[in-house]
């Protein structure tokens, strides 16, 4: 395998007609250190209020649903109402995420909330998000001990609690926020970063879009404005 490695790398250098790769190595290091932005669409550079509006519009376009609530105190009612409205069981499998600790679940005693990774039988999951990206209505979810990835994919219904201040314009803004918190992740990058844009879908049967292929059939975003 080591032999294959040197043959591939040597073959590349030879094909490119190079003797030493020092100049190239320096250029590559510089590009990575600078990680400069390329062209950012105007759509990704709105003011914060318009960003939130665009995020909501784009998320709705891809068949996510959005409920705006004034603060975390209003989340239990919003979630219970959503579950009842869709005839879903009043049982949540939630991420053990401290960011969700301030949600006063005891206001809705009929709602059962357990925490941990997703299990087969879990019908509804609830997680936070790292960011919302306005340009395409995309959620950025990052893994960690308090944020198991399975919650984003196994249950039929995924509810995400997103604060308005977490909404950014473009993907690059989300990367900047992630870099700013690099210390919280081993090596600066979480194990898994999921960019989620609407519920699961497929066009594999006669190219007609159907929701709920393997991942969640429903994606519901509770947007906390305060």
């Amino acid at each position: 395998m080591t032999d294959s490695r040197s043959q591939i790398l040597g073959g590349i250098a030879k094909s490119l007609g190079r003797i030493s790769g020092d100049a190239q190595r320096a250029a590559a290091r510089e590009r990575i250190a600078a990680h400069a932005r390329n062209l950012i669409p105007a759509r990704a550079q709105l003011d914060p209020a318009d960003q939130v509006r665009l995020f909501e519009q784009m998320a709705l376009e891809v068949s996510a649903t959005v409920a705006r609530v004034p603060d975390l105190d209003a989340v239990p009612d919003a979630v219970a109402g959503y579950l009842a409205g869709h005839n879903l069981p009043a049982e949540l499998r939630a991420a053990p995420d401290p960011a969700l600790d301030a949600i006063p679940w005891d206001r809705r005693p009929t709602l059962t909330v357990s925490t941990g990774r997703a299990r087969d039988a879990d019908a509804v999951s609830l997680t936070g998000a790292f960011a919302g990206i306005a340009e395409t209505g995309t959620l950025m979810l990052v893994s960690g001990a308090e944020r198991p990835t399975t919650l984003n994919f196994l249950p039929d219904t995924h509810i995400v609690v997103l604060k308005a201040e977490q909404i950014v314009g473009g993907y690059e803004d989300a990367w900047d926020r992630l870099r700013a918190q690099a210390g919280s992740f081993e090596g600066g990058m979480p194990r898994t970063v999921n960019m989620v844009t609407g519920p699961s879908r497929t066009g594999d049967i006669e190219q007609t879009i159907q929701l709920g292929a393997h991942g969640p059939r429903r994606l519901h975003i509770v947007l906390v404005e305060g």
């Binding site: 490119l16 190239q24 250029a27 390329n38 990774r117 995309t138 990367w175 497929t202 594999d204 049967i205």
Partner: protein, 475 residues
Amino acid sequence: MESTAHSFPENARRALQDDTLQYMLAKSRSGFQLRRAAAAQRLPEFEALRDQGRDLKNHVLEHLDVYLEMFESKVVERGGHVHWCRTAEEAREAILGICQKAGAKTVTKGKSMIAEEIAVNDHLEAHGLIPIETDLGEYIIQLRKEPPSHIIAPAFHVSKEQVADAFRAAHTDLPPDRPLEEPRELITEARLMLRRRFQEADVGITGANFLVAETGSTIIVTNEGNGDLTQTLPKVHVVIASIDKVVPTLEDVSTLLRLLARSATGQEFSAYTTFSTGPRRPGDLDGPEEFHVVLLDNGRSALLGTEFQEVLRCIRCGACMNHCPVYGSVGGHAYGWVYPGPVGAVIDPALIGIKEAGHLPNASTFCGRCEAVCPMRIPLPKMMRHWREKEFEEKLQPATMRQGLGVWGWFARRPGFYHAAARMTARMLRRASGSDGKLGSLPLPMLSGWTEHRDLPAPEGRTFQELWAERRGKK
């Protein structure tokens, strides 16, 4: 995958007579085209992003070895493993080795064209493992025991009735009289069947749309979520990617992501874009314990520095085949190897040889739509011409064609003779044509193919040169 590219003419003829295939091609193609056009139009910066994407990938290719080294060191830093493979065989062995070491029985797979290229399923099966495709399209064609016919829509050629037949034949533990007419019912059944498989798999294999040198991350772009279940639930995650997939930074990959979904399906963004960086971390409640990246060359490094280097910019969106009149007439299987359509007509000869795949770069009208929609602005028609030149240099075309070109070449080098012959032919054809100015048949056997299905408009009687001279004389 066993190539049948050498029998493209026969494959194409069969495809043209296949009613189901023709129905499916007619049904699905315009949708792809309209959706892409709408998505491109909605983003005013789309054309400028294409320029940046092209420049960015050109930069990567000129620095490919150093970005691969950087990517590798980041993967290793995060506790992952990188396996360098020169050939399909080395990659198959590497993957089998990882599976055997993990004591695997069942292996789930996300969609990967590289996996098709190296035919990893056959290899795993031959060694007693059970590979299970989890992308719905791939699952359908695995049940039907056939290769994909499109790089982003593997079951592009299959009707929903055929899907239902395949499901009834495979899912024998379900009630035989269950309804399977609607796509909804088919999807629900596939979801149910594959859920069991995700849970029992020991190894999950995915492809990668991009690799990020800055972070050592691998990226999959999907809509179904199957790739994420494939890589999150088993103990071992194996990523298989070709060396041309590496990109410097998260900013750079963001630029390419803005182009990929819009060019492919016309979506603003695919449902799931997932960045994976190493195995499960301390305290994590889920995720794979091992993370392997199998890096495949398989002839790509040899394209650098040649007239085919630019094809390595390809991000596998499928726009070229969605807009190709030839692909639209014969579908993907006719091409006979992994990559169909215009990009296949350039890549396949590079990977399996011009002798085997020589028909493919000839299966083009040179209408140029592939290049017009390629997000990476790859000059595909120009490269097909390069392959035709190579074919000529290596004397691979049929004798009649070479002789014909020889005769033409003789005349082309002797303008006096050329003009005289052209004048004679133009007059002869004029006289042979009917009153409608069309020729119903041509005399020589090698020319009669042209008039078998259509008329040839006859020349007006004088050559272009004569008309031009007359026009200049008037001025």
